[in-house]
Amino acid sequence: MWTYVLQRLLLLIPTLLGITFIAFALIHLAPGDPAELRAGGGLGAAGAEGLSTEKQSAVDEALKAWRAQYGLDKPFHIQYGYWLRNLVTLEFGDSFKDNQPVWHKIRERLPVTVQLNIISTVLIYLGAVPLGIYSATHSYSFGDQVSTFVAFALYALPSYWIGTLAIVFLCGGDYFYLFPPGGLTSVDASPNWPLGKRLLDYSWHLCLPVIVLSYSGFAGLSRFMRSSMLENLRQDFVQTARAKGLAERLVIYKHVLRNSLIPVVTIMTSIIPGLISGSIIIETIFSIPGLGQLGYEAVLARDYPVIMAVFTISSLLTLLSILLSDLLLTVVDPRITFSGRSA
């Protein structure tokens, strides 16, 4: 088992290399020069036209120096080489925007996003699995039909729509003020508050973002769980179990449920990447200082080092979640082993 985990972890390295290479190439081959963007402050070529030749040459000089400072004058493959060398020491370079080390920003933001995603994943599974079981064991009943309908609607609702609606109607605009419009803590929050109060404040702030982030995964998973259960309920071994007089509870929870959990665990490989993408939009809507917001701001400012760092970290999170779901599979289904045939 542990050798397998080690193997998989080592295999992550070439995959991650491939992914970062693709991203690096795409970002650098795309037209647009971060140096000019920085110098022009958004003026670009139109602003440069008005400059006298003297000033223009001074600007060019500054741009050249700045490109040299960040290695942007080197050919693309050498830039990638530098980037990789620095990556080994978790050195993502300095942000183009404010010259702060990128790693500091990441370290600040990563826990927020990871927390958000873990809470959402746990809630999705805690809610969707029981609902799926209920729907399957009461299939085509009124409750099942309602939950199927609601799940379908939730699945198709774009999260940025629900997020915007929540901001407009629930967060103290002209309508209701039930939740804070953004951030993670109240303005007047202080570390002197008792733990309970701080926790309450924190969860009050996280409530809407977590709901908006997780409802579509919840809807998708509950439908998936239902069909997985129904598939297994049709199998012969269920009939055998019932025929030998097992109680229905045992049939459902011991025979059907265990088999149905296998695809539900596998689907984690698509739920978690969905959450990571979703957190870009959710963190932007609710102004949560997480990785997604950092990435979005970096994209707007073409802050290449930050973009690459956020990209690498979220790829790594995605790959780790795929690995995790593979490992969970062995827990759920003992028939699956990843060791060699002889073991």
Partner: protein, 333 residues
């Protein structure tokens, strides 16, 4: 040939029985019509007008002008039709262009004038939604077309030839699955000049993995069947076997993911323009109207209607896709 017809008519019979799927088909067809006839539904030019004793067909004539067939008469050039005192005129049901700025009437509530209100530049929201359907649908269709092209070619190659080719291509699949696609799209779209063709290309180039895996699995299943062996031993060239013999059999499951993919592409496009990325700033899209609601939280109409449009389009394609899946599933028949 006859059998093929039988197969699809049977699928249609099954599809027809699913009321929700048929409703989805109607809605998606309706949206397509709205997108096609957006200029006729929402336009500040009249269909027909008598002005200074002469007869004009402004919408038609501006079409002819843009096609270079007949230049626009001088009377219609650079005029504001709303202030023109024509003797007679027949207007479209919504008398606004989506990008007609009216700074005297910003953020107006829904009323008889503006059925769904106006945005912060006084642009009519309903006209924006009607014309926005063009952008959403065209990005949905074109990007899924690109994705199908890449996905089917790669999937077919991997599935039919197997061996090391399959190994290499499957590694590429795994690589693509580890990529946070939305962030990649965001990054590339932000570095390029905002242009809907780039957006189509990017969504297509990142959205083919699901289709490719499906195609690969179908080809793996089919390639060792007797009729393929028969075709090989008869000396049928490999490309012909792939396209004429195997592909039609692998197409059905791919079709489902194509329909669902259109919905996903519409969601991605609206998400991008919601974040203000990928389409030019002066272009009104469903996502860009929704985005304005974030900074004008009292203007509920900016939040409700564009989101409802996205939701409607996505649900319609989902319903069609799911109906198709059920109709194609031999176990359910």
């Amino acid at each position: 040939m006859d059998n093929a017809q039988n197969y699809w008519s049977r699928v249609w019979q099954h599809f027809k029985r699913n009321i929700l799927a048929v409703a989805g088909l109607w809605v998606s067809g309706g949206l397509l019509l709205i997108a096609l006839f957006a200029d006729i539904l929402a336009n500040d030019k009249p269909y027909y007008m008598i002005y200074q004793g002469k007869m004009f067909f402004p919408i038609l004539q501006s079409y002819l002008d843009s096609l270079g067939i007949a230049p626009l008469p001088d009377e219609l050039r650079l005029v504001d039709f709303a202030t023109l005192s024509a003797e007679r005129a027949i207007y479209p049901p919504i008398r606004y262009r989506p990008n007609r700025v009216d700074l005297l009437d910003p953020l107006a509530e829904p009323s008889g004038d503006h059925w769904l209100g106006t945005d912060k530049l006084g642009r009519d929201v309903l006209a924006g939604l009607i014309h926005g359907s063009r952008i959403s649908l065209s990005i949905g269709f074109v990007s899924i077309g690109i994705a199908v092209l890449i996905g089917v070619v790669l999937g077919a190659t991997a599935g039919y030839f197997g061996g090391w080719i399959d190994l290499v291509i499957s590694r590429i699949f795994e690589l693509m699955l580890g990529i946070p696609t939305f962030f990649l799209i965001l990054t590339i779209a932000a570095t390029l000049r905002p242009n809907i063709f780039y957006t189509m290309l990017i969504i297509g180039l990142t959205g083919w993995v699901g289709i490719a895996r499906l195609t690969r699995n179908e080809f793996l299943k089919v390639r060792n069947l007797d009729y393929v062996t028969a075709a090989v031993s008869l000396g049928v060239p490999t490309p012909r076997i792939l396209v004429r013999h195997i592909l039609p059999n692998a197409l059905a499951p791919v079709l489902v993911s194509v329909v669902l993919g259109i919905a996903a592409a519409i969601l991605t496009e609206s998400g991008l323009s919601f974040l203000g990325i990928g389409v030019p700033a002066d272009l009104v899209t469903w996502g860009s109207i929704l985005n304005e609601a974030r900074s004008n939280t009292f203007a509920w109409w900016l939040a409700v209607f564009p989101g409802a449009a996205i939701f409607l389009a996505v649900v319609a394609y989902y319903l069609v896709g799911e109906g198709l899946r059920d109709a194609l599933d031999p176990r359910l028949q």
